[in-house]
């Protein structure tokens, strides 16, 4: 148990610390790297809680795809972050005040936090790993109890796909494209032309 506690607090501390660094770092590349770090630690927290599927998903999707995409964007677009931050100080007092108020209020809530005694009975409890794998359990819920949401999420992804295509895809003229059909249909006759080369006359004259 003690080990678990120590590991939890280490992971948690690193998540919070690196999350802070995401917004505090001056270099955007560093920000993204800190983001990745916090993702990793969050994944660690999931593992600790016995949700290995979520942990792996987090690493694969967020670290492997999203964060790397961020990195690309940050590196490829030359965004002057210093200039972007210039107005920051102007809003700091009001922002800080709002943040402070919200923090105090959140603390009040935390002070009143009582885990509802019925939580175990209301939500679907996770079966022990020995009986059923995490993935299996999730799948069972997703495809039965939450089928409606699962399908609806599918529609969301469809919209996202349509949106991405509608907003970015355009037919460019004057761009040479690979035509697989043309490549496959090419015969030797189209591709190769035999020429008699007169020896000693050089190449320029005969072509």
């Amino acid at each position: 148990m003690l080990i678990q506690f120590i590991v939890f607090y280490v992971f948690a501390a690193v998540v919070v610390g690196s999350a802070f660094m995401v917004i505090a770092a001056r270099n955007p590349v560093h920000s993204v790297l800190f983001l990745i770090l916090s993702f990793f630690n969050a994944a660690g927290l999931f593992v600790l809680a016995g949700a290995e599927f979520l942990a792996m998903t987090l690493v694969i999707v967020y670290v492997g795809a999203v964060a790397v995409l961020f990195l690309f964007v940050v590196m490829m677009l030359d965004i002057n972050f210093v200039r972007l931050r210039q107005g920051f100080m102007q809003y700091l007092p009001l922002g800080a005040m709002l943040g402070a108020i919200l923090l105090v209020e959140l603390l009040l809530v935390v002070g009143a936090f009582v885990v509802s005694p019925e939580v175990d009975t209301l939500a679907a409890p996770m079966p022990p790993v020995e009986q059923q794998s995490n993935t299996h359990a999730l799948g069972q819920l997703l495809y039965t109890r939450y089928m409606y949401l699962f399908q609806a999420s599918g529609m969301i992804l469809l919209v996202a796909m349509i949106g991405a295509i509608v907003l970015t895809f355009r037919v460019r003229t004057g761009v040479r494209r690979q035509s697989i059909r043309a490549q496959v249909a090419r015969t030797r006759a189209d591709a190769v032309e035999l020429k008699k080369v007169v020896s000693g006359a050089g190449i320029s004259g005969s072509l």
């Binding site: 809003y91 009001l94 709002l98 108020i101 919200l102 209020e105 009040l108």
Partner: protein
């Protein structure tokens, strides 16, 4: 059905001409309105026969109108002898005026509108005279006022016409306010506005008092004085008469119909209709007599020196209305209504004749620029003579019978105010004769003072104008002769229950037994007046000017119409203007507008500008505002609700 047709046919005509005049065209509007009003006039003859001669009075309930608590007023036609007489007068004069207008207005570009107004007026007037309750009467009362306003201001592009229309409307408001208060008082006291119910209850309220602001006032006196104020306004009695001469700005047929024959007599009609109430209010009757007598003499003196042909006739109308009122004041309502009846014919004749003269002089109204044309327009000349003879009270003509019985009744009242009215009435009769013939002589005789251009164009009016005048002339000649025995004769049966006179009020009875000098005196002064007029305007034309020079002050006093307008200007107009300006500048603009509409408006714009400035276009500003909103919500929950 018959009575309904009489009342509503003109309304149909007004609606058709008013709303569809553009499609009907001038000719169509003429046919529709004149046809319907003439039909109404023709129908009123059998109505008169049934009701007045055969005595079949009745009340035709049409439909309930206003029912609110104890206030119940239905739309009903009360057809009794008084109404029948008025029906004949209103519809026949209206029909004549409609026909006449076809000729008189033939150059006007807005004829459908004119005829629609005329017909609408006729309807309103009929609604007034057939009213069975105070509310309906008030409806008609206001309706004729409205039409009068519209018709006086018919040539709305003339500033003077607009001013006159507004003046007529506003002065009438004063009277109408009295009338409305009177109706309220009637309802307050009698719990009803139905004539029958009220009349029946009146005797029970004799010598009762109502308390108003701590003073105790005699119930019936208060009510009748309030109602009489309404009558004074509508009938242009002294004090509220100033609008009538100005109303001559309207087209002449309008003056004839509204400001001579019908609307202005509504006050007299009202007093006669409400005779069961006035009879029990001695003080009010005295007041009516005095007001009538003063009006008669005042208007007559002003009429002496006016130069506008229509204004002379207008003051004459005012004066004759005074006669009618003092007749009512001495309880000789029959005489008053009889004078109303004859006056309607000869005064309409005079007005329309004057219109014909004006027409002949290409729109000239100033008598100082007329004269010497009697050979050129003989028909008009003859008709004006007939009208003047009737007005002057020359025997055999209508005015003779009615004016004499009025004066005799005043004498016959044997009361102080009666004597006053008699004396003033006799004087006014002389003056009337004088100014009537002054008008005739100045207009038709002597050397012409019109320009060559105008004289060249002097012509007789077309038949469509002359024929109606002939009808009126017949009325002016025969109406007195034929109807005097019926209306004011020894046989009292004619009026039935429509006019109520207390047994102790015997003026009319006494009038029949007046001594010979009383009967002859009006004729004598009338002839004297005519003679004087001949002497001054034919024999010695330079005399009037010298006379005016000698009695400069008096002349100016009369010429300026007793300075009524100036007095009102100082008393009401200027002070009202001063108060108004004060409230406008200081009260309204500075205070109410400043803090109210204008202040609010500029605040609104300020806020609008600020609200728009919130919209910077930066996403992070928007997000920031959202976060502020979230924090505000949370705070609300935690500290306002949660605590």
């Amino acid at each position: 059905m018959l009575y309904g047709l009489i009342v509503f046919l003109p309304l149909i005509g007004a609606i058709l001409a008013g709303l569809f005049g553009r499609w009907l065209g001038d000719r169509g509007s003429h046919i529709v309105t004149c046809g319907l009003v003439t039909a109404s006039a023709l129908l009123s003859v059998p109505a008169f026969w049934f009701v007045a001669i055969q005595g079949n009075t009745q009340i035709v309930e049409l439909f309930p109108w206003i029912i609110s608590g104890e206030l119940e007023a239905s739309w009903a036609l009360r057809v009794d002898q008084l109404t029948a007489v008025m029906l004949v007068v209103v519809t026949s004069v209206s029909a004549v005026v409609h026909w006449y207008s076809i000729g008189y207005m033939h150059d006007d570009p807005h004829q459908p509108r004119f005829f629609a107004y005329l017909s609408l007026f006729t309807f309103a007037m009929l609604a007034l005279v057939t009213a069975d309750n105070f509310i309906q009467m008030f409806f008609g009362w206001e309706g004729v006022g409205l039409c009068s306003y519209l018709l006086i201001g018919f040539w709305y592009h003339k500033p003077s016409a607009n001013a006159a229309a507004i003046k007529a409307f506003i002065v009438n408001r004063v009277g109408d306010f009295g009338f409305a208060l009177g109706i309220c008082a009637v309802f307050f006291v009698f719990q009803s506005v139905e004539f029958d119910a009220v009349f029946e209850a009146v005797p029970r309220f004799v010598d009762t008092e109502i308390e108003f602001l701590g003073t105790h006032l005699d119930t019936l006196t208060v009510i009748t004085i309030l109602l009489f104020i309404g009558a004074m306004g509508k009938s242009a009695q002294i004090g509220l008469h100033t609008w009538l001469p100005d109303a001559m700005e309207g087209p002449t047929p309008v003056s004839a119909l509204i400001h001579a024959a019908t609307m202005v007599t509504a006050g007299v009609f009202m007093v006669a209709r409400l005779s069961p109430m006035f009879e029990y209010a001695e003080f009010t009757l005295m007041l009516v007599t005095i007001v009538g007598a003063l009006t008669a003499i005042m208007a007559a003196t002003i009429g002496l020196v006016q130069n506008d042909i229509k204004r002379v006739i207008a003051y004459s109308t005012c004066s004759q209305l005074g006669y009618m009122f003092f007749a009512c004041g001495v309880s000789a309502y029959q005489a008053g209504v009889f004078h109303l009846f004859t006056h309607a014919f000869f005064k309409a004749l005079l007005f329309l004749g004057a219109g014909s003269v004006i027409h002949a002089f290409s729109g000239e109204q100033d008598m100082r620029r007329m004269g010497g044309v009697w050979r050129m327009i003989p028909m008009t000349y003859a008709l004006m003579w007939i009208g003047s003879l009737a007005l002057g009270g020359i025997p055999l003509f209508a005015g003779f019978y009615s004016k004499d019985i009025v004066l005799e009744a005043a004498w016959g009242a044997h009361s102080g105010v009666g004597q006053l009215a008699f004396v003033l009435g006799i004087m006014a009769a002389g003056l009337t004769a004088f100014y009537s013939w002054r008008l005739l002589f100045m207009t038709f005789h002597g050397h012409s003072r019109a320009s060559h251009e105008v004289l060249h164009h002097v012509h007789e009016s077309p038949p469509v104008m002359i024929v109606p005048l002939l009808f009126l002339a017949a009325g002016a000649v025969f109406a007195g002769m034929l109807f005097a025995p019926l209306f004011v004769g020894d046989n009292h049966g004619f009026w039935g229950d429509s006019i109520f006179v207390l047994a102790s009020h015997t003026a009319l009875e006494e009038a029949h037994h007046a001594p010979l000098w009383v009967k002859l005196l009006p004729l004598v002064v009338a002839v004297t007046g005519i003679g004087t007029a001949y002497w001054m305007y034919i024999a010695r034309p330079e005399l009037p000017a010298r006379l005016a020079e000698q009695h400069r002050e008096l002349y100016r006093f009369f010429l300026n119409k007793w300075y009524w307008d100036e007095l009102y200007d100082i008393l009401f107009v200027r002070s009202a203007r001063a108060i108004g300006t004060f409230f406008w500048k200081k009260g309204d603009e500075a205070t109410i507008d400043g803090y109210g509409p204008n202040g609010v408006a500029s605040r609104v714009l300020d806020i609008a500008r600020r609200a728009a400035r919130l919209q910077t276009g930066y996403v992070y500003h928007y997000a920031f505002v959202m976060l502020i909103g979230v924090v505000a919500f949370v705070t609300w929950y935690l500290f306002i609700v949660g605590m």
